[in-house]
């Protein structure tokens, strides 16, 4: 119990003292999660729209596969990506292992199913009249996609928030691909894992609080978007 209280105190101290190590981890976390969320949205939202909007043969099996991939453990994604980007892997020459882009790619793969599945559901849950209305007003395919996503904006936003939450809080991928290298690829979550591994539970809690604060700020700015739209 003590370490929860102590963790809170440590969290304040970490932030107040502008602790350099913590800030390096915060920055790395933000960089990776922004990169991965941008990539996963730009791939996942179009895919999710297509999966939710169109009827095509094989739609149901694809949907099942995507839903199943929601259960993909981070470590497995990590191993999978590692197999490709390790020096001996087919993409070894790009030197992505132990780098921020490397982690971001793996995180993208991790959260893509969330983005796709939740976006598809958001589009499927739309009033069936949306489609006909947009077509009859003359919208072309990409305009239909954009307008449908706007109609489903709350549900799409929550897809984004869920995906972001998953990306920022995962540790398996960052550990496996990033290597938790201090000043370099150490994220808040890998730092938490490290501290916990050392038995520094209060420090782990403190970093956890820092992470949640970060997520709160990010969500706050998204909620601001939500209000404006």
């Amino acid at each position: 119990m003590d370490y929860l209280a102590q963790g809170l105190i440590d969290a304040i101290r970490l932030l107040m003292s502008l602790d350099e190590e913590t800030f390096s981890a915060i920055l790395t976390t933000l960089r990776i999660s922004s990169l991965s969320i941008l990539m996963s949205l730009s791939i996942g939202i179009p895919c999710g729209f297509g999966l939710g909007y169109f009827d095509f043969p094989g739609k149901k099996p694809i949907r099942s596969v995507v839903d199943t991939l929601l259960a993909m453990p981070t470590v497995v994604v990590g191993l999978f990506v590692y197999a490709f980007i390790s020096r001996r892997g087919p993409l070894g020459e790009f030197g992505l292992l132990f780098t921020i882009p490397g982690i971001a790619i793996a995180q993208t793969i991790l959260v893509l199913p969330i983005v796709i599945s939740l976006t598809a559901t958001a589009i499927e849950s739309l009033d069936r009249r949306v489609r006909f209305t947009l077509i009859s007003l003359g919208a072309k395919r990409s305009q239909i996609a954009l307008a449908s996503l706007l109609e489903a904006r709350y549900a799409v936003l929550i897809a984004v928030i869920t995906a972001y939450g998953r990306a920022i809080s995962e540790v398996g991928v960052s550990m496996m691909i990033g290597g938790n290298i201090k000043w370099n690829t150490r994220t808040i979550t890998t730092a938490i894992a490290l501290e916990t591994g050392k038995g520094q539970f209060s420090m782990g809690i403190a970093l956890g609080i820092v992470l949640l604060l970060l997520a709160f700020l990010v969500n706050g700015s998204l909620a601001f978007l939500r209000k404006r739209s």
Binding site: S86, R87, F98, G179, N180, I181, G199, F201
Partner: protein
């Protein structure tokens, strides 16, 4: 910028030793040392895949195998610490001060809880050797034998929650003592046996198998670790006023 990529075991990282050595190494050689702290098995695997330049590990048998298979060169021993058996102060199996083999026999006999790391780490491999030395089969599905498959600190936590004995390296234990504010529920019961020595070595990844590795830097690092300066730093590294590692480069 010269960057040397190293895979090491969690103990060197968790204790903070590398945080002391790396800046000095950089000042001396201009090489930036970056390391990933993982289990010994995974560290060796990273070496096999050419993802790191050098290894700092503590599993002599696996290391020899690794070098013999041609994955590594210039295995150089740099330091050691030792393993200890810890348990509750009450010591229900009455092992305090006994030899290691007797200790294990008593534990098995009394069916006293024993936490094993069960993760193929250096510590786990040592434990397996100890069971063998004691003439016992390695327990598996015994209810008193708890296989955690986790790191050392977590295994100690499990042991303390379950009132169990466990085998640990001294460095981690001192760290644990530190976090418990000097008043840990588990105390040292068995120590000092020659078989309990925990040897750390540096191995460079073989450039013939991995053309992309920085073998020069690895060599520099190996030499530096064996240098007097580094050896002194290791000897002086203390936690709670206690020495964690004993330099032994060049010794056999």
């Amino acid at each position: 910028d010269k960057v040397l990529m190293m895979a090491t075991t969690t103990s060197t990282d968790n204790t903070g030793l590398l945080d002391v050595l790396a800046p000095v190494f950089k000042a001396d050689t201009g090489i930036e040392l970056r390391w990933v702290a993982v289990g010994t098995g995974k560290a060796l695997e990273l070496g096999k895949n050419c993802d790191v330049d050098v290894l700092l590990v503590h599993a002599p048998d696996a290391e020899e195998e690794y070098v013999a298979a041609g994955y590594g060169t210039e295995r150089t021993q740099v330091m050691y610490n030792d393993f200890i058996i810890i348990g509750l102060q009450e010591d229900r199996a009455g092992v305090k001060g006994k030899t290691v083999s007797e200790t294990l026999r008593l534990i098995a006999e009394k069916r006293a809880p024993f936490a094993s790391r069960g993760d193929n780490s250096g510590t786990h491999k040592m434990e397996l050797i100890l069971w063998k030395n004691a003439g016992l089969a390695v327990p598996d599905r015994e209810p008193w034998y708890i296989q955690t498959g986790q790191g050392m600190i977590n295994t100690i936590s499990v042991a303390s929650e379950r009132d169990a004995y466990t085998l640990t390296d001294r460095g981690t234990y001192i760290k644990y003592e530190d976090t418990m504010k000097g008043n840990p529920p588990l105390v040292i019961l068995v120590e000092g046996d020659r078989v309990l020595r925990n040897q750390y070595s540096v191995i460079a990844v073989n450039p013939e198998k991995c053309p992309t590795v920085n073998n020069d830097l690895a060599k520099t690092y190996t030499t530096w670790m064996a240098s007097e300066k580094a050896q002194k730093l290791i000897a002086e590294f203390k936690l709670m006023g206690k020495q964690l590692f004993y330099p032994n480069a060049g010794e056999n």
